[in-house]
Amino acid sequence: MKEKKTLSYMDSVHRDGTIWNMVVMTLLIMFPVVVGVIFQAVPDWAGVGKGLLATAPMYWAVGVIEVITFYPMLGAGGSYLSFVTGNISNLKLPCALNALESNEVKAQSEEGEIISTISIATSSIVTTLIIIFGVALIIPLTPLLENPVLDPAFAQLLPALFGALGVVFISKNWKIAIAPIVLMLILFVFVPALDSSMVGIMVPVGVVFTIVVSRLMYKKGMLG
């Protein structure tokens, strides 16, 4: 009873987040097991092995880097939720950044933690409901969603998102933005291997490079 009283809000976020994430992870792992039991099917173990060997090492490495990179930006509650619901860099993180900016709060403050969690939870609920709606109405919606007229609009979602978001953050932090933007422009324009599928891997590179440059500028008193 005494322990319950002294549990801080942040401690309760970690406790509850851990319980929820473990429950969801167990359910996810159980999905193929239950399907296998119901339909009396066993996986093709060689296929599982080869498939995992080709997929898991890269995505596990990316997963570790993403947690370390995104956690300080998403906050605790936002991280527990985002790493369950996914679509972090193209939806949850921009949503949280926009909410923090509109409310003029810092991500590391308690207000920032709350605003970030509220925006990510709302975004997750809306996303889940829209997907449910889309799945329920998949037959009538298919001609609309596969309409070739709308194709280019959805193909350009990320440039449209980061144009608006970028102008706000870059204008406020232009001194530290110059070096990483120049680096990324050079890399993406002149290195052919860096195509659109590589942006997820380049986010941690951009973050680490910007931190290093900012630290140097901070030490030299250039950010005063």
Partner: protein
Amino acid sequence: MEFSINHPILFVIVGVIIAVVLAQSVYFLVKSYRRAKAIGMDMSKVKKTIVSSSVFTVAPAVSIVITVLALSKSLGVALPWLRLSVVGSLSYETIAAENAASGMGTSLSELAVGTMTASQFVTIAVVMTVSILVGIWLVPVIGKRMSNGLVSFEKRDKKWMDTLQSAMFIGMISAFVGYVFCDVSRLWLAEDGVFTVTDTVKEYVGGELVEKTVTTAYSATSGLIPVFVMAVSAVGMVICGILMKKLNWKWLNDYALPICMILGMASAIPLTAWLG
């Protein structure tokens, strides 16, 4: 029970998992809302955050539905519905499913014909699930330590902590700005105004796995489409900023990002017709 990739029982199982994920989001929304009230935050701002986050989410969520649709042709509806509601993304799911199919000596395009067995389905589901679980368990493992580390870091040097936070945001945004320019090189790499991309895909033809070369042609100026879309969206944001300041339209603050995003996406339609 006879298996089918759209068997109703699959929808029931997926529905249960998604209900739990939805419950987690509602739980955290209520928890943080109550905390905001308890520490005396301006609740009108909190409510505005809920509304603006909802509005902002609509367009990206619709694009996720389109992804479910794309994957449903080979994997049915239930599995992509689960995968894209929990952790997933189009690029990851396609790669994971393709690797699993390839591990079984087949391909997604072959399975799209509608011949997938329960064993193949389970194999693909195992690979897709296991390969993406890191974030779900790693946050509970290191989250508390990271939070404590960030707090003590802030106590030591608050000004640097603020700069560090901005640097992280800028680092992420700069990667996406670079990505927007990734196809600009088509301008000088194209021959006779046409840039071609050649891919090798594996396909089953008459029961045999064969490699096929697929060539896609793009116009030299097609790489400029995302650049102009980004510019339209950025200019829209600048105009919103001016309207907020000059006309005191404070309400616009909550909707500027979704408005500009939709504006940029809409501009892609004529821009693609012109440059694509």
